[in-house]
């Protein structure tokens, strides 16, 4: 297992990206979304990816999550070379290792909170009980509610419960608070932070919102398809302390 040294502690690498580029071609139009990204994410860390729209952070997150492939470059998840995976191997990778949280929650409207979580636990190898996952995000009193009966913040917390219930090694969150007001956003971030802390899940969180960066251990800034800077946050804050 490739290991590295970070903050003076020996830690295990979760992702290693080498020279990732991504070019979207639509007709004559070529858009270079990533221009050679090298990046390592370590086990258990919480990373915030910051940057304006179109800077490439979502593209990177999608590639990390195995729902998109780079045009060139290599990506390793531990020993697995993601960039060499077939479509069905990618599906298995997502199924077994990755938890996703989306900006618009993407819950299944026809399933209750508990059933939405159950959707994932049914196909996972060593999942939590759906009730347990929902308890972690503070929704143990809303188990049998359908998405239409839940507020935006509650829906996003169900989505987080759904993502963490399979005990993934990686949790990828694309603008999880983007559709929420700040008060609700804090509750959602608390849930993410707790999952990261208690389950030791490597968490990557995309946001536009610089105020959120203080809950991370590292902040990676994107600009124009490249990493502009990487900032270590020495003393990360609890979500309640954040303001934006």
């Amino acid at each position: 297992m490739p290991d590295g040294v970070h903050d003076g502690t020996r830690v295990t690498e979760t992702f290693r990206a080498e020279g990732l580029t991504k070019i979207y071609e639509t007709g004559d139009l070529k858009v270079q979304a990533l221009r050679g990204v090298n990046l390592t994410l370590y086990e258990g860390e919480l990373v915030v990816l910051l940057g304006p729209s179109g800077s490439g952070k979502s593209t990177l997150l999608n590639i990390l999550g195995g729902i998109d492939l780079p045009t060139s470059g290599r990506l390793f998840f531990k020993d697995l070379e993601i960039t060499a995976c077939s479509a069905s191997e990618l599906t298995a990778y997502r199924r077994d290792h990755v938890g996703f949280v989306f900006q618009f929650y993407n819950l299944i409207p026809s399933l209750t909170a508990r059933e939405n979580v159950g959707l994932v636990t049914e196909i996972a190898e060593d999942p939590m009980q759906p009730d347990e996952a929902l308890e972690m995000v503070g929704l143990d009193h809303r188990l049998d509610h359908f998405p239409s009966q839940l507020s935006g913040g509650e829906q996003q917390r169900v989505a987080i419960a759904r993502a963490i219930a399979k005990r993934p090694e990686v949790l990828l969150c694309d603008e999880p608070t983007g559709a929420l007001d700040s008060k609700t956003g804090v509750v959602v971030l608390e849930a993410l932070e707790r999952a990261n802390r208690e389950l030791g899940t490597t968490t990557a969180l995309i946001t536009h919102n610089a105020g959120i960066k203080d809950m991370a251990e590292r902040v990676i800034r994107f600009a124009d398809g490249q990493i502009a800077s990487v900032e270590d946050i020495p003393f990360k804050k609890a979500p309640q302390e954040l303001t934006w």
């Binding site: 999608n62 999550g65 729902i67 998109d68 069905s88 599906t91 298995a92 997502r94 199924r95 077994d96 990755v98 996703f100 989306f102 618009f104 993407n106 819950l107 299944i108 409207p109 026809s110 399933l111 209750t112 059933e115 939405n116 159950g118 959707l119 994932v120 049914e122 196909i123 049998d144 359908f146 998405p147 239409s148 009966q149 829906q155 759904r162 694309d174």
Partner: protein
């Protein structure tokens, strides 16, 4: 260059985006319209051609035959109130000896007036000329007969005319209004080889049949507004002393009867089926347009926010519907015209009259356009109103997730562990019960349509089995020119190849129950018959009742009679007795309905000794040709009907007419199944692509996601199959009496294989839809699907 407004561009692109569904809807519209156009278009051509031909040839209104009356009686008939024109003539059945046939054929001779052309029932001369009144060997024949035997002008063949075999020379080829549908005696289908109609000068014919200065047939044209029944009653009185066998109106004239029956069937087809197709189309349109309006809420809000009026926005969607319907209409017109031409060609095989060329009837087109527009509006108006009614603010706010509830079934399901994907399928079905219900009805209807179409095959097979194999088992039936002493049966028995015989005495009667009456023949039959047998509804053999009538159930229903009732029998020949006879038995016949009596009782009723009019014969096939050669020369023989030939022509007719129609309906049914299922699948995909993409991201495989999407289609299809079978059963049950005529009754029999085939075809349609949709699921773009908001 033409400028297309942005709204219209959007409209066209939307249409292009859903082209598959649009085409499916247009195709269903097209089917309805095609049926409408084909039925009414064919009807219009046949009806116009028939009336034009009747007018030109002065087809009579009333017909009567008699034994013999002096020509002077014509004046009395002419002077009857209500009669515009009366024409007497001579007709006779003859035994034909045709060079290209081993067995004898039947000819119907009709006299031509001594001077000029017939005043009524004139013929249309296609080739050659009218036979000379003075030359006894000259005849004109129908085109169908000439073609069937490859005869051309100048050819000749032999016929036994009043006991003497004579050569007849063809000098004219004609068409006649009286034998448009030329059914020979005892035949079930027109067979131009075995039955020929021919015209001869009156003098020659009178001489041949000893009818100089006399006639045995009279036809009338009535004055405008005259009551046919009253004229017939008076005519019968005049003809009674001369052996009149009962006059009848045009409606009962055999050829016209069949032709008008056919026109009625077309009318029924054109009225019953198209609305069903258009309703299916309306349903599909409703689902699709509602879905489009739902996905375009934000755009609609935006347009309104920009200042487009409600009307302008509604108009866009209305145009969308109109374009779809108009496409279907155009396709339907093309298809309908094509089918109509084919159908008219098919009619030409059986109905011999000059058919006008098919032209699309503007009235039919207008009707087609109106009904398709109405269907479109029924289907789309609700959705358009939704679009019109959306307020910009509401439209632009994101919609809340579709609300679901635990249904009544939840408790039921709680007992089982079912996976979340399966739960999604059931919740989705129960969340949109109306849509699911309509999909089920749509698919079920296509199953039902298949069952009903294939039912005809089962029914015809049953008809054939019962009639040709259980009831009628003779090799052939020899019918005589006139009633003969029963001893003729023994003479036949001594002919080569004759193994078994069975005598029949047939008497023309009018069966009357109060005001309702029916012209029929009573068949006198022997008990213990082995060749031609009477069967009841369980297909058990019924013996001829000694003291009463056995009546075909069909006639009994027509006359409101049941077992135990007394029917008035007015004999229409010889001494014309009128008697009251009890009905002691009903028999079930699918072909040619009759009344039956014991032959001895019938002969007693006629106050005659043992007499027969025809004899069923079982022939040793090794000696058949020998027998035919002798029969060809027997003057007493009017003709023979071979069971196998009848069966062949019956099958051939059924094959060529029914199979085409059935094939058409099966194709329509598959199309409906496909249209409904494909739309359901595509709508489900469009509504749920984001959810499905999310599931894929969460690690669900393509197959698992496809299961969620198509599971619903599967469930709905499975539910609709039994529904469709039951519906098909009911439709067939309803159609079987509708299709029955005075000649056939369609037995209600549906074989298991009919259900099986219907279910398989519809399932295959659903599977094809599933595969097409699966391709789209496989091609789901995960990244884009996640970005889009519901």
């Amino acid at each position: 260059m033409m400028r297309i407004s942005p709204l219209n561009k959007k409209l066209l692109r939307d249409l292009w985006r859903i082209k598959g569904q649009a085409l499916a809807i247009a195709a269903v519209v097209a089917c309805g319209i095609a049926l409408l156009i084909a039925s009414f278009g064919t009807l219009a051509v046949l009806d116009t051609s028939m009336n034009a031909f009747y007018d030109r040839t002065r087809f009579a209104d009333v017909f009567a035959t008699l034994k013999r009356a002096p020509n002077s009686l014509e004046n009395d008939i002419q002077n009857l109130p209500g009669v515009a024109l009366a024409e007497t003539r001579i007709t006779a059945a003859v035994n034909l000896d045709l060079p290209d046939m081993t067995e004898p054929a039947t000819g119907q001779l009709i006299s031509l007036p001594e001077r000029g052309t017939p005043l009524l029932n004139d013929v249309t001369m296609l080739a050659g000329r009218y036979p000379s009144p003075l030359r006894p060997n000259e005849i004109a024949v129908t085109e169908a007969f000439a073609n069937a035997h490859g005869f051309s002008l100048g050819d000749s063949f032999k016929a036994i005319v009043n006991g003497h075999k004579r050569p007849l020379e063809i000098v004219g080829v004609v068409m006649t209004p009286e034998y448009i549908y030329a059914l020979g005696p005892g035949a079930l289908m027109p067979d131009a080889r075995r039955f020929g109609v021919m015209w001869m000068g009156r003098k020659a014919l009178a001489a041949a049949f000893d009818l100089d200065g006399a006639f045995n047939s009279v036809t009338l044209r009535l004055q405008h507004g005259a009551q046919a029944e009253e004229v017939i009653r008076r005519l019968d009185v005049i003809l009674e002393p001369y052996g009149g066998s009962g006059a009848y109106p045009r409606a009962d004239q055999i050829s016209h009867f069949f032709l008008s029956n056919e026109l009625d069937q077309l009318r029924i087809t054109g009225t019953v089926f198209p609305p069903v197709f258009l309703l299916v189309a309306a349903f599909l349109l409703n689902v699709v347009v509602t879905r489009i309006v739902a996905t375009e809420r934000e755009q609609i809000g935006l347009l309104k926010a920009f200042g487009y009026s409600d009307f302008e926005v509604g108009w866009v969607y209305l145009k969308f519907i109109i374009i779809l319907v108009a496409t279907g209409l155009l396709m339907g017109i093309g298809l309908g015209n094509w089918i109509a031409r084919g159908m008219i060609g098919m009619f030409g095989e059986y109905y011999k009259f000059p058919l006008l060329t098919y032209k699309t009837d503007p009235a039919v087109l207008t009707a087609a356009a109106s009904v398709s527009l109405v269907a479109g509006l029924i289907g789309g108006l609700g959705a358009v109103r939704q679009a019109v009614g959306l307020s910009p603010a509401v439209a632009m706010a994101p919609p809340v997730p579709t609300s679901y509830q635990k249904g009544a079934l939840s408790h039921f399901f709680a007992r089982f562990t079912i996976s979340q994907p399966t739960r999604m399928i059931f919740r989705h079905v129960t969340r949109f019960p109306v849509r699911a219900g309509l999909t089920v009805i749509g698919v079920a209807f296509s199953v039902a349509l298949m069952v009903m179409s294939l039912f005809f095959l089962d029914s015809v097979e049953e008809m054939i089995e019962v009639y040709f194999f259980q009831a009628e088992r003779q090799t052939l039936t020899v019918s005589f020119v006139e009633p003969r002493p029963a001893t003729i049966e023994h003479e036949l028995q001594h002919l080569p190849g004759v193994m078994k015989t069975q005598p029949v005495r047939s008497v023309a009667v009018r069966l009357r129950n109060g005001h309702v009456f029916d012209r029929k023949a009573i068949q006198g039959i022997v008990s213990g018959a082995d060749l031609s047998r009477l069967l009841n509804s369980e297909q058990k053999i019924v013996e001829p009742p000694p003291g009463g009538l056995a009546l075909s159930r069909h006639i009994a229903q027509d006359l409101n009679l049941k077992v135990g009732d007394i029917v008035t029998v007015e004999v229409l020949q010889e001494r014309r007795p009128v008697v009251e006879i009890p009905i002691v038995q009903l028999v079930d016949e699918y072909i040619g309905f009759q009344a039956y009596m014991h032959i001895d009782a019938l002969n007693r009723l006629m106050k005659e000794g043992p007499t027969v009019t025809s004899v069923h014969v079982q022939v040793d096939s090794r000696h058949a040709n020998e027998l035919y050669a002798i029969l060809k020369d027997l003057p007493a023989v009017a003709g023979i009907a071979q069971r196998s030939a009848t069966l062949d022509s019956f099958r051939e007719t059924m094959d060529s007419t029914m199979n085409v129609m059935i094939g058409f309906y099966v194709a329509l049914a598959s199309l409906i199944a496909f249209g409904v299922a494909y739309n359901a699948a595509r709508i489900a995909l469009s509504e749920r692509s984001r959810a499905l993409a999310s599931l894929r991201v969460l690690g669900f495989t393509r197959e698992e996601v496809t299961y969620i999407l198509l599971g619903e289609l599967g469930i709905l299809t499975v539910v609709s199959l039994p529904v469709g079978c039951v519906l098909g059963y009911l439709m067939a049950l309803a159609m079987s009496p509708v299709l029955s005529t005075d000649m056939y009754s369609f037995p209600f029999v549906i074989h298991a294989s009919t259900y099986g085939v219907s279910v398989i075809v519809v399932c295959a349609s659903a599977v094809v839809c599933g595969l097409l949709t699966r391709r789209r699921v496989y091609g789901l773009d995960l990244v884009t699907a996640l970005k889009t908001r519901e």
